[in-house]
């Protein structure tokens, strides 16, 4: 077992953080959405559009930071379709989430083909350079794993405690949660439920768009159809897994990133094992944890229900 040395461990953890980050960002997006009672299963679609918007802007301007902003803007734009239909029109959230999953990647693919054509190689944009934090990144093992990333990675991890404080310790956060738990009561206390839900959808769209743009501006410098590869759905399950709490979501994202990084390395180490067996590890882990820890306390009570002001 000579491979179990420090380098292996460090590379494994580094890979874990890289692979967990897009899932974490998008899971936080869903967390904000569901806390206001908006189940959005269209994350995969929003990510795909964010990935394209981020890549295009990064390609044209050469600035990955502008790319990330464009990803956020693109994500909001797409999510507003969902928001309008589900909040204002009171339509079924799952159906419109699914519609976004079909509609957004197709439109992204269309724009890419119109702009770049069909060539035998992919267009390449610039990649965001990592920003090692001075001193902290010099600590052995932990330094490179936690403090040698692009700025968006730090922001993603900072968002976890910030979201916790927001939801648990502030009045605005309490109002936000009230909308997801019992919108009628919230309305009677003077909270504008519709406005709050739109706000949640804007945050969700922006974060999910950034999660997509992270893939094409910080991870790899190209865009292909299907680059998201179901990460949106994994993020969706991470929210349930994390019991609608920022800390839980972080653990879920990290566990998924870790098992995925591990299975790739196990494949390289033992080519004799059927790869399908190893590729199942992240999903089996998820099942295992869900089965053991269960969902004793389900999420926000009014989650997924359309809100009609006039209804009694």
């Amino acid at each position: 077992m000579d491979f179990l040395n420090m380098t292996f461990l460090q590379e494994l953890l580094l890979s874990t953080v890289r692979m967990a980050t897009p899932i974490l960002i998008v899971a936080l997006a869903e967390l904000y959405s569901e806390r206001a009672g908006q189940v959005n299963i269209g994350l995969d679609g929003i990510m795909a559009f964010g990935a394209l918007a981020g890549f295009m802007v990064c390609y044209i301007t050469g600035n990955p930071y502008l790319g990330l902003l464009a990803g956020a803007a693109g994500g909001i734009l797409i999510n507003m379709v969902y928001a309008f239909c589900t909040i204002t029109l009171g339509a079924e959230q799952i159906v419109y989430g699914m519609a976004i999953n079909i509609f957004a990647p197709a439109i992204a693919s269309f724009i890419y083909k119109v702009y770049f054509g069909i060539s035998s190689t992919l267009a390449q944009a610039t990649l965001m350079t990592p920003m090692p934090i001075p001193f902290l990144s010099k600590i052995p093992l932990i330094g490179p794993v936690f403090f040698k990333h692009t700025i968006i990675v730090y922001i993603a991890y900072l968002l976890v405690p910030l979201s916790y404080i927001f939801f648990q310790k502030t009045k605005a956060g309490l109002n936000f949660r009230a909308v997801g738990e019992y919108p009628k009561a919230a309305e009677s206390l003077g909270i504008n439920v519709v406005k709050q839900k739109y706000l949640a959808c804007i945050i969700c769209g922006a974060l999910a768009g950034v999660g997509g743009a992270y893939l094409t501006t910080c991870y790899i410098s190209t865009y292909t159809d299907g680059v998201v590869s179901g990460r949106g759905f994994i993020a969706l399950s991470a929210v349930i897994f994390g019991r609608w709490m920022p800390g839980g979501v972080l653990i879920a994202a990290l566990l998924f990133g870790f098992t995925d990084a591990l299975q790739l390395r196990l494949q390289v180490l033992s080519s004799q094992t059927p790869y399908q067996l190893l590729a199942m590890i992240p999903y089996i882990c998820t099942l295992f944890v869900l089965a053991f820890f269960g969902i004793k306390k389900a999420g926000p009570k009014a989650n997924g229900k359309p809100y009609f002001r006039e209804e009694r």
Binding site: F3, T7, F8, E11, S15, R18, M19, F84, C85, T88, L89, G90, A91, A99, I102, F103, P105, A106, S109, F110, Y112, K113, F116, G117, I118, S119, S120, T121, L122, L127, L215, Y219, I220, S221, T222, T224, D225, G226, V227, S229, A261, L264, R265, Q267, V268, L269, S271, P274, Y275, Q276, A279
Partner: protein
């Protein structure tokens, strides 16, 4: 009530916009279909000297694809092959990409219903769907790339995976300094497995000490995963030459290799260095699917379609060596081209 009406109106508008995309492409199978105008322009010309039995008929070829035609790898190469073959033979082209496995059959079926003459299924993974639909539509012809089926209306196009593997393996074996090679597969298809096995055999024939590491991404489009795999192969196993059979995943792998010095990748199926500069790609194993597909189209026009497999190998020019990068020294190049001659006449492959 007003809200309900508005909701219905929105739904209609969304559906209409989807249908709008479809009608532009003369087909309504999927939202992301489109007809390339370039191919349509050449559609009325019939190629030069030969006279076809039905010269006034415009033939149509349609392609289905699970990845994207703009994936910069397999999908793009196959699509370009179809367009170039269609231009030469006077076919009109259609395509549907981004299909999931569940949609293969229904997509092929709807093309059959639209009166398409030839359906091009570029990959081993479509075999079952093609077999199923072909039985119901005896008048529609099918070209199955990497397939092994021969019926009245299915012709298989089979580039020699053994030669492809050996060609890549020989170059990798000559170029490696660490003696560690890598291979990334997309899905565990028969052709991918054959390429991997022969890649290893080819490399060992050149350099018996080499070790080959392999991994599957489980996808042809998750380029981020390709980057992770390549990264782990280099950092854990000191792999210095890689070859892949996974389209966009391979371009992710190349990005990881670019972060190191003297780590190389071998491209396929198009000649990557002919159109792009790269520090990582040292050469390509080029498959000319267009020529083989053109043979299918000629057969179709002559009414002699079916019951055969069109093989692609070095001898008939369907496989060839691509452009080399300056990382490949003249010495290695000469040696490699000698090996290629030996692969061609069969003396190299054991």
């Amino acid at each position: 009530m007003r809200k309900k009406l508005l909701a219905i109106a929105m739904t209609v508008a969304m559906v209409a916009s989807l249908a709008g995309c479809g009608s532009k492409a003369n087909t309504n199978t999927s939202s992301n279909t489109a007809t390339p105008t370039a191919a349509a322009e050449g559609s009325t010309e019939t190629s030069g000297s030969e006279t076809t039995p039905a010269a006034d008929k415009t033939y149509k070829v349609a392609m289905i694809l699970d990845s994207s035609i703009s994936d910069g790898g397999w999908g793009a190469a196959c699509y370009n092959a179809m367009v170039s073959a269609a231009e030469d033979s006077g076919f009109e082209t259609l395509y549907t990409d981004g299909l999931t496995t569940a949609d293969f059959t229904s997509s092929i079926r709807s093309y059959c219903d639209l009166g398409i003459d030839l359906i091009f299924a570029p990959g081993n993974q479509y075999t079952d769907a093609v077999k199923e639909v072909a039985a119901d539509y005896p008048d529609v012809k099918f070209a199955l790339l990497n397939g092994t089926v021969e019926t009245e209306n299915i012709v298989s196009i089979l580039p020699d995976a053994q030669q492809i593997g050996y060609m890549a393996g020989a170059l990798a074996g000559l170029m490696t300094k660490t003696g560690k090679l890598g291979f990334i597969g997309g899905m565990e298809l028969d052709t991918t497995k054959a390429k991997l096995a022969n890649y290893e055999a080819g490399a060992k024939a050149v350099n018996p000490a080499v070790e080959v590491f392999s991994a599957y991404a489980g996808s042809f489009s998750d380029s981020a995963k390709g980057k992770e795999i390549a990264d782990s192969m280099v950092s854990m196993n000191d792999v210095d030459v890689m070859f892949g059979d996974a389209s966009a995943v391979d371009s992710g792998a190349r990005e990881a290799l670019a972060n190191y010095t003297d780590r190389f990748d071998i491209g396929q199926p198009s000649d990557i260095l002919a159109t792009q500069k790269s520090e990582v790609v040292i050469g390509s194993v080029v498959t000319d699917n267009a020529t083989m597909l053109k043979l299918c189209m000629e057969d179709l026009k002559n009414g002699t379609y079916g019951n055969k497999t069109i093989y692609g190998n070095l001898s008939n020019g369907s496989l060839s060596v691509g452009t080399f990068s300056d990382k490949v020294t003249d010495d290695i190049k000469t040696k490699y081209l000698e090996y290629i001659e030996q692969i061609k006449d069969g003396s190299f492959i054991k």
